[in-house]
């Protein structure tokens, strides 16, 4: 019974050693020349301004939710596109219905002015 846990233990050990080995080997091989720009927090290439722990506009929240909604939409689109031929016309119409409902939401949000930046 206990023997059946051996693979799990091995798996955990391998999982733990992977990042450790990677970091150690990297540290040994790479040249080490730190300077201010290199140590700066990375924010899409733009120089960071102030602390991240700050109050920010509630509008970001709405944008973030909208982003998630359309992100999920694309997640559904990928598997649909892969078996598109098998689903045939039925799948096409179903996806139109799905997109239609999302577009209504988008339209509603737009008209309500949630996308206007002050």
């Amino acid at each position: 019974m206990l023997a059946s846990y051996v693979p799990i233990v091995i798996f955990i050990l391998v999982a733990l050693s992977l990042p450790v080995v990677g970091l150690v080997v990297g540290r040994l091989i790479r040249p080490y020349k730190p300077h201010a720009t290199k140590l700066m927090a990375y924010e899409c290439g733009v120089d960071p301004e102030g602390d991240a722990r700050d109050r920010f506009s509630i509008r970001f929240y709405i944008i973030a939710i909208l982003f998630v909604v359309f992100e999920v939409e694309t997640i559904f689109l990928f598997p649909w596109a892969i078996i598109y031929r098998r689903l045939a016309l039925f799948g096409f119409i179903e996806m139109l219905v799905f997109l239609g409902i999302l577009i209504v939401g988008y339209f509603y949000v737009w008209k309500k002015g949630a996308l206007e930046w002050v």
């Binding site: 209504v104 939401g105 339209f107 509603y108 008209k111 309500k112």
Partner: protein, 476 residues
């Protein structure tokens, strides 16, 4: 692919009309947004036609996701009826409170879709989706008076506790899936029947699911949110939560316990028995000391959930029939009582203490008689729907030889008499104080109230017709 669109025709109609209203909202001027309620009403009427199209058919539609049977049809008609009443009173309410936002109707329609799915679902995932659609809509609706602290507080409490309890339900579903290898009702039932040495995982799953549903039905010890949320929410939404949300969760629970876990009835009866006792006792005893009528009705709704649970514990065909009957009776009297509370509350719900009812019986005879009938029915006095409902539910429990439970139920409902009658006493014997704003009753509300009073009395004197319908619906 096995798809039968007539099985979800009402849901499609409601969703389509809801989407149409969303498209219209930006184009309708603010003051006229309450008129969108008529469109929502048209949607519900269409949904009634949708139910009629599938009448009498039995099927397992959408790849065994949706039951189409008499139980489902009965529930659909029930929920559509409740939504119609709530829609009509909320149009009046929004006008009075100057809450001109068409989103209210959209959310109400979507909540109704959730209820319909819960009552007809044949798959635990579908039940979960229905519950989520219903819950998310009601979280927002409970906080619809955004400027009022109490309403926001209600929405937050309901949202946090609701999300937490939904997690329990989902966790339970996962355990049941782990134990049986399926989320489909019929396949789970088969898997349980096939291997009678039940695993612990299965019991854990069942228990967690009952926590999730217990929260939505407001059963003790998961009832703590009820009074605060019912008090803070706008009155039509209090009615929605007390009648429709509770009913949807209860009917889903009936289906799950009776159809999926009938073989484990001994075990879940052992859990439900003490829950029923606690729910009835806490509901009735806590209601005694309430001075706010909305809070009192919230505790009264907990007590009634307890009576329904007595029927659920009985586990026989008479019990299902009794529960369906009781639910309709409960809807009539609770909706009616809350409509009177809305009328007496006036603008911003300023008059919701029991003292505000002093002398109203003589000053406004119509309201006095209506509220008296509803409260007498809630107390379970003969010749009203509430009495008949209790009779059927309790006799189902007697049939299953649960004498102890029935005795406790009778004692607690006797305690309940006090707080219902207290309001009637203050209406007829309290001294009337001159009011700043006189009470006005709009014509639609007067008609609805009259119909609900007549319905309560009709079901109390001639319960036969509804009982026959419930009997047909009770055979899964």
């Amino acid at each position: 692919m096995d798809i039968n669109y007539t099985a979800i025709l009402p849901e499609i109609m409601l969703s389509l009309v809801g989407i149409c209203i969303m498209l219209l909202i930006p184009f309708v001027p603010r003051e006229r947004q309450t008129h969108l309620g008529y469109l929502a009403l048209a949607g519900i009427v269409l949904a009634f036609f949708g139910v009629a199209m599938g009448w009498g058919q039995t099927d397992l539609a959408f790849s065994e996701m949706i039951f189409q049977d008499d139980f489902g049809q009965f529930s659909k008609i029930f929920f559509l009826f409740v939504s119609t009443v709530i829609l009509l009173i909320s149009m009046n309410y929004l006008e009075q409170e100057k809450l001109f936002q068409g989103e209210f109707f959209v959310l109400l329609l979507f909540a109704t879709v959730g209820m319909l799915f819960m009552a007809t679902s044949a798959d635990l995932i579908m039940t979960f989706l229905g519950l989520e659609v219903l819950s998310i809509s009601t979280y927002i609706l409970a906080g619809f008076k955004e400027r009022e602290r109490k309403s926001s507080e209600a929405a937050w409490k309901y949202f946090l506790l609701g999300a937490f309890s939904t997690a329990f339900l989902l966790y339970g579903i996962a355990f049941v899936y782990g134990a049986t290898g399926s989320t489909k009702y019929l396949q789970i039932a088969e898997a349980i029947q096939a291997s009678p040495d039940y695993s612990l995982i299965l019991f854990v799953g069942l228990g967690l699911m009952m926590v999730g549903f217990g929260f939505k039905v407001a059963l003790a010890p998961f009832h703590a949110w009820t009074p605060d949320v019912y008090e803070g929410a706008p009155i039509p939404i209090t009615a929605l939560l007390a009648v429709a949300s509770k009913g949807a969760a209860l009917l889903a629970l009936v289906r799950i316990l009776y159809q999926v876990f009938p073989d484990l009835s001994q075990q879940w009866q052992a859990i439900l028995w003490p829950m029923a006792v606690m729910t009835m006792a806490i509901g009735n005893i806590a209601a005694l000391t309430q001075s706010n009528i909305k809070r009192m009705l919230a505790y009264s709704s907990i007590a009634h959930a307890g009576y329904l649970l007595v029927g659920l514990t009985a586990h026989n065909p008479l019990a299902t029939q009794g529960i369906l009957f009781y639910l309709v009776a409960y809807a009539f009297m609770t909706l009616g009582a809350l409509i009177v509370v809305q009328i007496v509350g006036r603008r911003e719900e300023q008059h919701t203490t029991i003292e505000d009812y002093n002398g109203i019986g003589y000053r406004y005879p119509f309201l006095g008689i209506a509220l008296s009938v509803f409260l007498i029915s809630l107390a379970g006095i003969p010749a009203t729907a509430g009495f008949m409902g209790k009779l059927f539910v309790f006799s189902a429990a007697v049939q299953s030889q649960m004498y102890g439970l029935v005795v406790i139920a009778l004692v607690t409902s006797a305690i309940g008499l006090y707080y219902y009658l207290r309001v009637i006493v203050s209406m007829y014997m309290g001294e009337f104080k001159t009011e700043k704003i006189p009470i006005t009753i709009s014509m639609p509300l007067r008609i609805i109230l009259t119909l609900l009073v007549l319905g309560t009395l009709y079901l109390g004197i001639l319960p036969g017709s509804l009982l026959n319908l419930a009997e047909e619906a009770a055979s899964f």
